[in-house]
Symmetry: D2
Subunit: 123 residues, 4 copies
């Protein structure tokens, strides 16, 4: 019996591929948490760069197909480094995000922050 | 028989929770791709900040339990904004990362880059 | 007759104070170019954070006096790390900026780019 | 009597040139504080990128002449955007840095922090 594609653990498979990508190239020595954090922030800035002179309100509908591909590639690079960082440091991304969401809900109670963008320590 | 919650489903559930977090707070108006890209890069820098004066080679084993929790929270914030950005822009994170990994394999052929850290256009 | 302290001299005095600040605290060992570049980018992101949910067009006139002080402090931190980085690497900031402006003028000829925000390799 | 070059207000001249560069290209509309903060952080990340896989301790002596030129250009771009941001927001860079240095001296008293790299709120 074959397991349908929908239920494969795609995230684990992807993480494994990324780790393999690094080990195949003997890049583990470069992939310290410090260096990976730097690389992640560099990729995040490459995403920012695409939007830096745009109005903002236009969303991605204002982007050409070529620019949107560029956006997808930068998003992918951020995700790849995030998975690699998590692998190297032993962090469970899904569990960490779930836990953080709960903390954020306490920091930003709906009735206090609704429609406002202030930082939690500004209320 | 109940089907166990699998990783890919968990990712969809998480994404849904994050979207709900924003809509509950009427934050959609702030969540333009431009602003989310900025927020993502700010979170990435908060991760960088933890490592900026450290040697590098010590990994996370040199961090106190408190600092490691801090690392996990920053990683989670990056992931949350990445999922939110993907939701707002209609990007499939897993598919985008898979596609980008293939492009990276072409840019960085094993026999050319093994053990070296130069950028692809420096070979 | 006393010569008034002129801007260029003030810049040298400031640079000297910043170097002294580091040596007084025995921080030279942390101030490698790599770490200073990280610290500089972290400060730049702290400036970005202030503006991340704002409309954009309102400039700084929309900021409270307290937020504007915050902006000034982040700008100052960026400048301090930039001067420190320049000191550690032996870069003459004024000369480097002058040289780069000339290169930028070649990359962005007025008649080609007037009123447009595309990157130089997109024309 | 001609005023010697040493005493010209080079920083003011540079700032003026940068403002002129923008107005000549009709770029004032793009140069909101928000967009300039983004551009500044993007340039800071381009500086980080040069160092991201390096050991750290080797300083700039380990860089090729070509890479060092690259460092100088990124440093210059950061300075140019910092001056432009200051111009647009009416911030006096030298005065802001002087004021911030005094605050930093209070946050980081020599006898408390000597030889240590913890953040001010960790002592």
């Amino acid at each position: 019996m074959t397991v349908p594609t929908l239920t494969t653990e795609k995230l684990e498979v992807l993480k494994h591929k990324i780790d393999r990508f690094a080990s195949d190239r003997d890049w583990e020595k470069f992939h310290t948490p410090k260096n990976l954090a730097m690389a992640l922030s560099v990729e995040a800035s490459e995403l920012v760069e695409i939007f830096q002179w745009l109005e903002g309100g236009e969303g991605v509908s204002g982007l050409s197909e070529q620019k949107f591909q560029h956006v997808k590639h930068e998003v992918a690079d951020i995700f790849i480094y995030l998975l690699r960082f998590s692998s190297v440091t032993g962090i469970d991304l899904l569990a960490a995000a779930d836990e953080k969401l709960k903390l954020n809900a306490l920091k930003y109670p709906i009735d206090l922050v609704k429609g406002k963008s202030d930082k939690y320590n500004e209320y």
